[in-house]
């Protein structure tokens, strides 16, 4: 049954998450250290920190979770586990889809726990913290989709590694615009959230197909 195999896939991802947990912690540590650096660089002016807080937290979250994107397919591709799973009866498109979901649950959601602590450093008002968490849930899902596209694209790239992160950052521009927009008092909160949801759905729709195309291409030329 396909559904059993899907559960099996998630079980394996959970095991791998558990054995890679040090990676995750070092990414979160990177996030906090860069926040400290920002605070020291800007000076401890409370009003200033409050004004720029959400923007800084969002961009640092983005940068530190792009750190983990290189690992997205690399291991499974190098030891051909992708081929084995495919031979087990799951199409590449579905593998990508499951991989995106598991990346979201096992890599992005733990970051969520660190957001309230980060907000304390910037003395952000409670409604901004709420906005940040809500937009980050949607935004990190988009990040997982984009990460899947860029990581699969980078599988055979031996010369220019930074190009994958460049593409993630490029397509993330609208997400940042709308996420920060939720703090604007005159903009409509609900419609911004549904805009973000719309973008998430678009990328969720196209990323299985494009990532699977890249993976097939990479397997063929390995």
């Amino acid at each position: 049954m396909l559904i059993n195999k899907i559960f099996l896939f998630f079980k394996r991802e959970a095991k791998l998450f558990y054995s890679n947990i040090a990676d995750l912690f070092s990414n979160i540590l990177f996030f906090f250290l860069s926040i400290f650096i920002f605070v020291f660089a800007l000076g401890a002016d409370e009003q200033l920190l409050r004004n720029v807080g959400m923007g800084i937290i969002w961009s640092l979250l983005l940068l530190s979770s792009t750190l983990s994107l290189r690992k997205f397919y690399e291991d499974d591709f190098n030891n051909s586990v992708i081929k084995i799973i495919h031979m087990g009866g799951i199409s590449y498109e579905l593998i990508v889809f499951l991989k995106i979901l598991s990346h979201f649950f096992f890599v992005q959601i733990p970051f969520l726990a660190s957001i309230p602590i980060a907000c304390v450093f910037f003395n952000l008002p409670i409604n901004e913290v709420y906005n940040l968490i809500l937009t980050f849930i949607i935004g990190s899902f988009i990040l997982s989709c984009l990460g899947s596209i860029s990581a699969s694209m980078n599988l055979l790239n031996k010369t220019n590694f930074s190009i994958g992160s460049l593409i993630v950052l490029l397509f993330f521009i609208p997400v940042i615009i709308f996420s920060i927009g939720t703090n604007n008092s005159e903009s409509d909160f609900n419609s911004l959230i549904s805009l973000l949801l719309g973008i998430a759905l678009i990328f969720l729709g196209i990323s299985p197909w494009s990532s699977a195309a890249f993976i097939k291409l990479a397997l063929r030329n390995k």
Binding site: R12, S19, N79, K83, M87, R220
Partner: protein
């Protein structure tokens, strides 16, 4: 059972192989032999539809495999020339993953027995990254028995194996043939198996 008809493959206009015909019936074992770089691995990958052939078709039980590729995969165990176990998972986790992915009906006791015959039961709960390459290779070959498929396709199965393990592997091959199985493997060696058909690339 497996019929390969007029198969050719080329990469960037370099012809790797051309007009290859092959018919594997039940209870047969076939070796693809050739020098390094003669296209053995490529041939295996074309047969398994991981690479697109230029001309020709492949039939499994009378049906073109492209019509329903998962039907074909469902009857096939593929051992690659490199290791496919996940290095960060334990031996037992790897085995559980493989057996459930292929919906194998082996019980836990049988698996433990298998591990004992291959002499790796003491590493059960150790991550595979700490095993030696010969032990990892044996773990890889466990999949043959674990998945209980009819068609075995192996790419360089003798790599990293000691003499004793080679003998066990040959014996496994013969057992499988006697159970109506079909085996296709590549190697540059000359293993001593009865009724071995050899195709030179």
């Amino acid at each position: 059972m497996l019929l390969i008809n007029n198969l050719s493959f080329s990469r960037n206009d370099n012809i790797i192989f051309q007009n290859l015909n092959l018919s594997l019936s039940n209870r047969s074992i076939t070796q693809i032999r050739g020098k390094n770089g003669s296209g053995k691995t490529t041939f295996i990958n074309v047969v398994l539809n991981f690479l697109e052939s230029k001309t020709g078709e492949i039939f499994w039980e009378g049906k073109n495999i492209k019509k329903n590729i998962f039907n074909f995969y469902n009857k096939t165990t593929f051992i690659m020339d490199h290791n496919t176990c996940t290095r960060k998972m334990t031996v037992l986790d790897n085995i559980n993953f493989w057996s459930r992915l292929s919906s194998s009906k082996l019980t836990k006791d049988e698996i433990v027995l298998l591990l004992e015959t291959f002499n790796i039961q003491k590493y059960q709960n150790i991550k595979t990254m700490y095993l030696s390459s010969g032990e990892i290779r044996k773990l890889e070959l466990l999949r043959l028995i674990l998945e209980q498929k009819k068609l075995w396709i192996l790419d360089e199965p003798y790599n990293h194996l000691d003499d004793l393990s080679i003998e066990i592997l040959n014996q496994t091959f013969i057992d499988h043939i006697n159970k109506d199985g079909v085996i296709l493997f590549t190697s540059h060696l000359k293993p001593s198996i009865d009724n071995l058909e050899v195709i030179d690339l």
